[in-house]
Amino acid sequence: MSILLILLASAVRQATPLLLAALGGLYSERSGVINIALEGLMLAGAFTAASVTHYSGSPWLGLAAGIAAGVLVALVHGVACIRFKADQVVSGTAINILFLGVPALLSGALFQSTGATPQVPQEQLLPIAPIVLAFLLVPVTWYVLNRTPFGLRLRAVGENPEAADTAGVNVARVRLAAVLLSGALAAIGGAYLSIGQSSLFARNMTAGRGFIALAALIFGKWRPVQTMLACLLFGFAEALAIQMEGVSQVPVQFIQIVPYVLTIIVLAGFIGHSRAPRALGVPYQEKR
């Protein structure tokens, strides 16, 4: 019994950064902007949060700085994709590659290290708050999407921006708001990794979680509750792999690949189909 409880608790912890990033991605993608940059946004948040916490001694200040960094990077992605109609996948990929390098560069300058920040003392780590926040955001996101004017416009802009435009909705503004929101949420996910789950930023510490979050988002059909379930599934597999390390006969890698194989099966259309927002990835050119 207790082993199961430990496993579940671990699954929730593992799922938290995925869920934050995936919900961030949800806002962006439901508005029609592909956010493959989640990985880079998480890294930006994680590194900034750890650095600022190290200097200030306050994880809250660190978190705030991390969010600011995420929003700033998201702004770059947003301006490139919305204002200048850049290819969204290319812009996102560029950000991902950039933030593999930027923390290494800055940590060299700031801490004379090759990509890690100094350890943050135990008492300066984020408490349980990000976990609570992540799961609280699931119903909140559902409500925002389905019960507020902003959510209605967001969905409209992601499906048929021309229709939204003729109805008087400012397509660019709604999309930019959504992309900035995704930067903030992904950065919180990153900060949770560096000053919540562990106590420092290590080079490439997200280890692909941004992409896994994206997979969870697609698996969850771009809907909040389903996306949460997908994140929990991925988190559970991760937790299981950690628990079974050294214990099981089966190589842990096999357990770790289960969720991904599942994702591929889902995406290949075997278990219901997943329909993306219709205007996803298509820059909108205003008339006139």
Binding site: R147, T148, P149, F150, G151, L152, R153, R155, A156, E159, N160, E162, A163, A164, T166, A167, G168, V169, R278, K287, R288
Partner: protein, 506 residues
């Protein structure tokens, strides 16, 4: 209600509207007609604030207004229903209607009150629209009514409808006109942009004709007729009736027996269809859209998607049922598809590339081992020949197909298909979205083709078109052929009854 004064608008120096004057009286239905490219849509987009005019004035209820965006027009009570609906498919009717004008607070959308208002508006006009349904579950006609509701919800008193019947079946068109008359009775003013003269005469009180960016005439509908309007639109006399000698049918070319197309779950969209088409005759298929005509043409062309085809299809006595599209084309079956954007053309490719589609593996275009090489000079020659023979304008082989008007796109497709010298031509909706001058041209070519000994199977949802062109007329309903009639001697009403299965034609 609305007045345009001396409106001029140029796109890249080319005038789309040249000193356009238009006066729409309140409480009337005003038709704005003209060929494609005559400038009627431009004029209406200016009236809706979508474009700014280079010069001229817009007056609403006698006062001059400056429009910088559609918002200004909406505020003054002008609504527009675009030809391509501006609806978000996975969202509900109510969500679509309130979009951009949401009731409630920023933190709580009040859809309930909106739904009640929409229901009231819908009931008032008898639209029968349920605001909680999703757009994607509605028919095209219903979606159009949602667009009307969208304008009415924004308290429009003047409604501009851009080519509202282009996407509608004859039944849905009749229903739309009933609704428009009710709206007029409520005191609304309606501008309807169209190029179909029968509709103008049917629905409008007044009509303004445009040609080449200018207003060339204004009439009270009761005091004009189709011939006069056509003359104004085209600038010359137009033959509105098809003139053809009696058919001289020869040997059967196409033989179809027991043809059925079955979809998943045993749904038969085509069932037990048998008929033949002889060389030198046009066999018409009449029917309300969605009664198996599309499936029939696709089965004959080898294009059936997702369904199982059974039965016999013979060309010159030889079975072609199992053959691929390319094999069928090689045997002499050409096809002018109903949806030219989806199946007829590659819109972003130039006219040369479009002109050799389906002939791209034949000499003289393709040469060498395996027909590996394409000869650019031959492609160009062939394209220029088709463009000249079918009067495609502008005859620029390097333009993308997208840049042509609907009528010219259709002429290009027809030219390409006839260039293959088919034994059998399958032609669906040949004049959909084509203007009057183009219709006359296409009809004449189809009759010439018949007289040259080709067998033609013609499907059209325009009853007037099939009855005028066909030598024999088959009526389809629910995937079956329910009757064969002589189009010369059978009245429209009788055919309409056969199409609807005896109930009064809607």
């Amino acid at each position: 209600m609305l007045e345009l004064r001396e409106i001029t608008k140029r796109f890249a120096g080319v005038p789309a509207n040249d000193r356009v004057n238009l006066t729409v009286a309140p409480g009337t239905i005003h038709a704005l007609v003209g060929e494609n490219g005559a400038g009627k849509s431009t004029a209406m987009r200016i009236a809706y604030g979508f474009y700014g005019a280079d010069s001229g004035e817009i007056l609403v209820e006698g006062r001059v207004h400056r429009f910088t965006s559609p918002h200004d027009a909406i505020r003054l009570g002008i609504g527009m229903v675009h030809q391509h609906f501006m609806l978000v498919e996975p969202m509900t009717v109510a969500e679509n209607i309130v979009l951009g004008l949401e009731p409630g607070s920023p933190f709580a959308l009040d859809l309930k009150s909106a739904e009640a208002r929409i229901r009231a508006l819908s009931d008032e006009l008898g639209l029968a629209i349920d605001p909680t349904r999703r757009i994607e579950d509605l028919s095209v006609g219903q979606q159009q009514r949602v667009e009307l509701l969208k304008a009415l919800y924004r308290e429009a008193r003047l409604l501009i409808l851009d080519e509202p019947t282009a996407v509608l079946s004859p039944q849905a068109t009749a229903e739309l006109f009933t609704i428009l008359r009710r709206m007029r009775a409520q005191g609304k003013t309606i501008v309807i942009v169209t190029h179909k003269l029968s509709e103008v005469l049917d629905i409008s009180d007044e009509v303004t004709v445009m040609r080449d960016g200018r207003v060339v005439g204004h009439r009270r509908t009761a005091e004009t007729n189709a011939a006069e309007l056509a003359h104004l639109m085209v600038g010359r006399d137009v033959l509105l009736r098809v003139v053809k000698p009696a058919a001289q049918p020869k040997a059967p070319v196409l033989g179809v027996r027991g043809l059925a197309v079955t979809f998943k779950g045993g749904e038969k969209r085509l069932d037990g269809v048998s008929f033949e088409v002889r060389a030198g005759e046009i066999v018409g298929i009449a029917g309300i859209e969605g009664n198996g005509q599309t499936e029939l043409v696709e089965a004959l062309a080898g294009l059936t998607e997702g369904g199982a085809v059974s039965g016999t299809i013979e060309l010159d006595g030889r079975s072609v049922a199992g053959l691929s599209v390319r094999q069928r084309r090689a045997l002499g079956i050409s096809h002018v598809p109903e949806d030219r954007h989806r199946r007829g053309l590659l819109l972003d490719f130039d006219l040369q590339e479009n002109a050799i589609l389906g002939a791209d593996d034949r000499p003289p275009v393709a040469v060498g081992p395996g027909r590996f090489w394409l000869r650019r000079d031959e492609i160009r020659r062939k394209t220029e020949k088709i463009l000249a023979a079918f009067d495609v304008r502008p005859p620029d082989p390097e333009r993308p197909a997208r840049a042509l008007s609907g009528g010219n796109q259709q002429k290009l497709i027809l030219g390409r298909e006839l260039d293959l010298q088919p034994k059998l031509l399958l032609v669906a909706q040949p004049t959909r979205g084509v203007d009057i001058g183009g219709i006359e041209f296409i009809h004449r070519r189809l009759v010439e083709l018949r007289d040259a000994g080709c067998a033609l199977l013609l499907v059209s949802s325009e009853l007037e078109e099939v009855t005028a062109l066909a030598d024999r007329l088959l009526v389809m309903r629910r995937g079956r052929i329910v009757a064969e009639v002589d189009p010369e001697t059978t009245s429209m009403e009788e055919i309409g009854l056969l199409m609807t299965g005896g109930s009064a034609a809607a």
